[in-house]
């Protein structure tokens, strides 16, 4: 039997099965917490840090990622405080400065409140969210994709930089990659650190009903359960 616990998210009492994360529980009830590296049904990494929430314990709040925080009876979580919004905006700004050419990353940055980016654009091809690495299941239950290197040199690669024979061409890595949707105006140039916000038109409903999930374009690309398709 599934054990249910009750958690308090932004003042709303929500029932969730034991073992689910706060992020999943919140999304189930339409409380949208921005997230990037999470993939449903795959082990969470806690790498992008966008889904940070305030976890209140004994009156003191601790900031942690909601994807790795599992529900517990009586847990109190705040997802949308000023502090969280500010930190989330800074994180999204760091991300979008790294990969401004991805529509998905642009969307997420806009949703987190970024317009002008204070860092020079870098036009990288990968933000190391690790979505591809975690969904990758090759032949013989071996994972052809993995992270290589440390820190600045970290990248996603096949073993020894050679396309592995274990890859079974399922294409899930490409499907889940946030970099596969280029932004409408083409390459962003260093020196023009500004997001036009045109993509945001898709999200305009969100502005009207703040905090209510409208099934955005961003969610579609990211296999959000609530996306229109």
């Amino acid at each position: 039997m599934i054990q249910e616990v009750t958690v308090n998210i932004n003042g709303a009492l929500i029932k969730a099965a034991k073992g689910t994360s706060i992020l999943d529980a919140a999304l189930d009830y339409g409380i949208c917490i921005p997230h990037l590296c999470r993939v449903p049904y795959v082990e969470d990494l806690g790498a992008c840090r966008l889904c940070i929430v305030e976890h209140v314990v004994n009156g003191r709040s601790k900031i942690t990622t909601s994807c790795t925080l599992l529900v517990q009876e009586g847990m109190v979580v705040l997802t949308n405080t000023d502090k969280i919004r500010k930190l989330r905006r800074n994180l999204a700004e760091l991300l979008v400065a790294e990969a401004p050419n991805s529509r998905a990353i642009q969307d997420i940055a806009l949703r987190c409140g970024v317009r002008d980016v204070r860092y020079p654009f870098r036009n990288n091809d990968c933000v190391l969210c690790g979505r591809c690495v975690r969904v990758c299941t090759g032949k013989l239950a071996e994972k052809p994709l993995g992270f290589v290197g440390r820190g600045k040199n970290r990248r996603v690669e096949f073993p020894f930089d050679l396309r592995s024979e274990l890859c079974n061409d399922c294409g899930r890595c490409i499907e889940l990659c946030p970099m596969t949707m280029p932004a409408c105006d083409g390459m962003m140039k260093p020196g023009e650190e500004h997001l036009c916000g045109n993509c945001e038109s898709k999200l305009s409903d969100d502005d009207l009903a703040l905090g209510y999930c409208v099934g955005c374009y961003f969610g579609e690309g990211f296999h959000c359960e609530r996306s229109p398709n």
Partner: protein
């Protein structure tokens, strides 16, 4: 060798060792720690050995090679027991004289004695040396008394007594309580109460539990754990066995970095010796308790000093931290309850058991009990390892023990706690060195590194150095640490290159806040400390870089230029010969000049010049 099965047998074994050494009239103690080894203490030891044999006194004189004594600045160090005569800067040529004069005829050799730099008087015995006088060496004092490769030495000074006491007289529950009462906090940096960690691990469900000793010390300029593990490995083992008994673990690991070859070797020998004597293995002291220790060597990644990354590395996976929403005392190594403590924490345990928690708690300040080993380095006269009571003011450590800056320069700040710590300016030197006071000041005591900086240090450059280190060592898993530190470094580089803007300062502050709140692991959360603390205390230096395009300390290359002071220049030509870029011209005995177009600002001329004629503008 027979295994020791009861406490009585340990006593008998100890008496036998002490009896065997009755004939020794004197002992020559030579420091064989890494610092002294670098100043050729191995040759000194060989020379002394040869001399002892030649003069035919090997029966009555015992030569002991020990781990680090702490006063690395004065190495190689030799101490002659029982009078504790203290010789420093000993060279192999002095061996003959030491044996024939000091050992045979009880004469002290004046020129090898330490000279007090303040009074100018020579000091004969070790205890009178000012460097040692102001210290409280609870752990380090044993380093001098034992040969790290000899379990006999350790047992002779009362070693493994605490283990016997713990196993036979105290219940595991009471041991945990004793550690809680002692107020011991983790010495690795976090400062989490050790007793609470043990209690949580003890109460965690599951029969299989682990203890781990974290010897993956990676802070620049810190080497406390190295010296304890190199100099007295049995102390750490004893602490671990007691801990394992208290929490109910049967397997322990020592994760030591491979860059510490001597520590790896000594701890291997120690584990083997303890196994041979039955102090590790099945049924220790005839009880039902079995425990063994395995040694794992780390590959030198800084991030593997973080507990969850260390455990991942031990399991054979990539050393990356994971979120700790469930603590490692419940879900640790192989998802089993695990207690991980730092070398120095484990080394404190035997003392707590032996002397009681009240003795330990009597030392230190309100929130931080006991003593702390500090690695004193940087612009200071007496570099070395220092052990002081927690809560000792910074100025005592820097001026009384460290002796202040060399060449009469002014000290500007200390950097404590390695890359996770921050800088504390000289006007805050009254602050006590303990967990809470330093945390409130925006730094931390960390693992105990204390880097002293004088007036010639640029704080922007210091921040840049630590960011560079962290950018190299970040695992790259989470966004704030990987990208945040990288962007911080980018901004700081702009500032130090003279392209800084005033809004950069607020951006750095905001970025620092973001990193410290949102990074995944403890190392990431503290990564911005170097920047935030220097911004907090030395904002005017940042502003000088940005507004005036000047580096007040004369360090940041893009903002300075060198010239020659015609009044001080004697025309000796040292700078001219030293300059690798041929930028200096001048005739002998005439004032030289620097061609600014060729000058690469390497600073070689400045360090070569004996007349301080090279000025930095």
């Amino acid at each position: 060798m027979n295994k020791i099965k009861t406490f009585k047998e340990l006593e008998e074994f100890r008496n036998k060792i002490i009896n065997n050494r009755k004939n020794n009239t004197s002992t020559i103690v030579v420091c064989g720690g890494t610092g002294c080894k670098a100043s050729r203490s191995k040759d000194v030891i060989d020379a002394l050995k040869k001399e002892i044999n030649q003069q035919g006194i090997s029966e009555s004189v015992h030569l002991r090679t020990t781990g680090c004594h702490g006063f690395c600045e004065q190495g190689p160090l030799v101490v002659i027991e029982p009078k504790n005569i203290f010789y420093c800067h000993v060279s192999p040529d002095d061996a003959e004289e030491i044996i024939s004069k000091t050992i045979q005829n009880n004469e002290t050799i004046e020129r090898l004695l330490y000279i007090d730099p303040v009074t100018g008087k020579t000091i004969e015995t070790e205890t009178e040396v000012p460097f040692y006088k102001s210290q409280d060496r609870q752990i380090l004092s044993q380093n001098r008394q034992v040969d790290p490769c000899s379990i006999d030495d350790y047992i002779a000074i009362g070693g493994y007594n605490a283990l016997g006491k713990a196993l036979l007289d105290i219940s595991p529950q009471s041991i945990v309580q004793e550690v809680i009462d002692s107020g011991l906090r983790g010495r690795g940096g976090g400062g989490f109460p050790t007793g609470r960690k043990w209690a949580e691990c003890r109460e965690a469900p599951g029969n299989e539990k682990y203890v781990i000793c974290n010897a993956d010390e990676g802070d620049p300029g810190a080497y406390m754990d190295r010296c304890v593990l190199e100099g007295n490995p049995h102390l750490v083992l004893e602490g671990m066995i007691i801990g394992a008994w208290a929490i109910g673990a049967n397997q322990g690991y020592i994760y030591v970095r491979n860059e510490y070859p001597l520590a790896v070797e000594n701890v291997r020998i120690a584990v083997k010796q303890a196994r041979d004597l039955g102090l590790l293995g099945e049924n220790i002291f005839g009880t039902s308790f079995s425990f063994d220790i395995e040694i794992a060597r780390g590959g030198g990644a800084f991030v593997c000093g973080e507990s969850t990354a260390l455990m991942a590395s031990l399991e054979g996976r990539v050393g990356e931290p994971r979120p700790k929403d469930v603590h490692t005392v419940i879900d640790g190594l192989w998802h089993k309850p695990t207690t991980l403590n730092n070398v120095e924490t484990w080394a404190n345990i035997p003392n707590i058991i032996q002397k009681g928690s009240s003795f330990f708690a009597s030392k230190g300040s309100k929130g931080s009990k006991g003593t702390k080993i500090l690695a004193l380095t940087g612009c200071i006269k007496n570099t070395g390892l220092v052990e002081v009571e927690m809560g000792t003011p910074i100025k005592t450590v820097v001026y009384d023990i460290g002796g202040g800056a060399p060449k009469g320069k002014n000290i500007k700040a200390v950097q404590t706690g390695g890359p996770s710590g921050g800088c504390i300016p000289v006007d805050k030197f009254d602050l006590p060195l303990d967990f809470d006071a330093l945390y409130d000041a925006g730094s931390m005591i960390g693992s105990g590194g204390v880097v002293v900086m004088d007036e010639n240090t640029c704080m922007v450059d210091v921040a840049k150095y630590f960011l560079n280190f962290l950018q190299d060592e970040s695992c790259g898993k989470c966004v704030p640490c990987r990208l945040g530190v990288d962007r911080m470094l980018e901004i700081i580089t702009e500032i130090s290159d003279g392209r800084g803007k005033l809004e950069h300062i607020s951006l750095l502050e905001e970025l620092g806040e973001t990193i410290s709140y949102t990074a995944l692991c403890g190392l990431g959360k503290t990564a911005a400390n170097a920047v935030t603390s220097t911004l907090n205390y030395f904002k005017e230096e940042y502003e000088a870089h940005i507004k005036d395009k000047k580096c007040p300390a004369g360090v940041c290359q893009e903002l300075i230029s060198y010239s020659i002071d015609p009044e001080n220049c004697t025309g000796c030509g040292v700078c001219l010969r030293g300059c690798p870029h041929e930028a200096i011209t001048g005739e002998k005995k005439k004032v030289h000049s620097i061609n600014l177009e060729l000058c690469q600002k390497c600073g070689i001329c400045r360090s070569e010049c004996k007349f301080e004629a090279i000025i930095v503008n």
